[in-house]
Symmetry: C2
Subunit: 126 residues, 2 copies
Amino acid sequence: MTARAMILFAHGARAASWAAPFERLRGLTQARLPDLDVSLAFLELMSPRLPERVDQLVAQGVADIALVPVFLGQGGHVLRDLPLMVEELKVKYPALRITVATAVGESPEVLNAMADYCAAALAPTP
Amino acid sequence: MTARAMILFAHGARAASWAAPFERLRGLTQARLPDLDVSLAFLELMSPRLPERVDQLVAQGVADIALVPVFLGQGGHVLRDLPLMVEELKVKYPALRITVATAVGESPEVLNAMADYCAAALAPTP
């Protein structure tokens, strides 16, 4: 059996508080996938960065990584920076399998939940 | 009756494709609030910027704006840049009511929908 892991890939920010919903998302996803290691990794400003996290997982014997970009829009970070990093990781670890999911913002269910939230955010007329 | 509007406030990016899920979110929210003008405004790199959009709405007679930050993490943009912009707008338009919701990433329902998506993104073992 191949050891598998999931990485939730997020942007990162200077304010430590920024990561809070991503930590909650990690816990919720981990609860849905109890047999898998689910961890966060960041593009910049926060640790671990994606290549560092992959190094750690490979050192632990993980041979199959599912990567989910936790981004709403697919801009340069998802369309250019991430594929470049994944290519470099594949060169570094030829035996490693890495699958990259579409960004969470492309999910109709996520967008519907956000629309519900926005509609509910309408304050009552004073 | 006070004319009201909702602004979904997002970061903006260089790639035009980045805005696609935000446009979809705008449509979904507009469908839930058919009596309200729901529009997007951006912090940077895309138009309209937030102050520009507020100018337009005030010129149309809107006196009450519900602003929802479409951000996952609450970092400097939501905690510092946005309140500064809102303060400037309140100075410019003293009669205007602006309410600012918590960022969408704080919604448990949004996080649950994202966790469902992440768990489903696990590719089958080849």
